[in-house]
């Protein structure tokens, strides 16, 4: 299990490649991954940058709990969450969620659960720099 909050750009596929080498070979048949990436538009405005604030301490605690819940509920081989903070540019990865399981159903369901739980409960806040000025994002899309 791995969780991390990173305040510099990160490379999701490289993190997965490296982390997976630490897993026991031959025991997982399905890996489901979600990567959230910063877009250059949102609600019809051009977005030039973003600042991601979080609640240090509570964030780590929450991400850890999400991984533990997913591992427990879907009997996963392993789970990982990486989340970006600080100043982001369009195309920067924001979040990486991964679930390793014996079968695909569990991997997909766990991965989806982890990103939904994170979006609804983990204490992060986005402030966008748009062509109309800076604005706090008020809510996430529900699903």
């Amino acid at each position: 299990m791995k969780i991390a909050i990173i305040d510099k750009p990160f490379a999701p596929w490289q993190i997965l490649s490296e982390y997976q080498q630490t897993l026991k070979s031959g025991c997982y048949g399905g890996t489901a991954v979600f990567v959230g990436t910063m877009r250059d538009f949102n609600e019809e405005n051009e977005v030039r940058g973003m600042t991601l604030e979080h609640y240090p301490g509570m964030t780590e605690k929450h991400l850890e709990q999400i991984c533990l819940d997913a591992i427990d509920r879907w009997n996963l081989v392993d789970a990982l969450i990486i989340h970006r903070t600080g100043d982001l540019s369009p195309n920067d990865p924001i979040v990486l969620v991964a679930a390793w399981s014996a079968h695909r159903k569990e991997a997909f369901e766990a991965c989806r659960f982890m990103i939904e739980d994170l979006k609804h409960t983990a204490p992060f806040w986005k402030k966008e720099k748009t062509n109309k000025g800076a604005r706090w994002v008020e809510k996430n899309t529900p699903y």
Partner: protein, 77 residues
């Protein structure tokens, strides 16, 4: 009783505060702490609360050395 109070994101900007140390002789609820720190300002809709980094409610009581946080709906991921 000493309580650390934290505000985040848009709420922190609106109130002009990030962190306040509250002293009190009585055992307070989250709501009473909010009133004391903001001077009875109305609580904005949808504000979330955490006590010691766990989600909590306005009528929960706070203990000595607790950390209470107020913040807007989360928008990570």
């Amino acid at each position: 009783m000493a309580i650390t109070v934290k505000f985040f994101a848009s709420l922190s900007e609106q109130l002009g505060m990030r962190e306040v140390l509250v002293e009190s002789k009585d055992r307070l609820t989250v709501e009473e702490i909010w009133e004391q720190v903001t001077g009875n300002r109305e609580i904005p809709a949808k504000i979330l609360i955490a006590i010691n980094m766990e989600y909590a409610r306005y009528d929960d009581h706070v203990s000595d050395n607790d950390e209470v946080a107020f913040f807007p709906p989360v928008t990570g991921g």
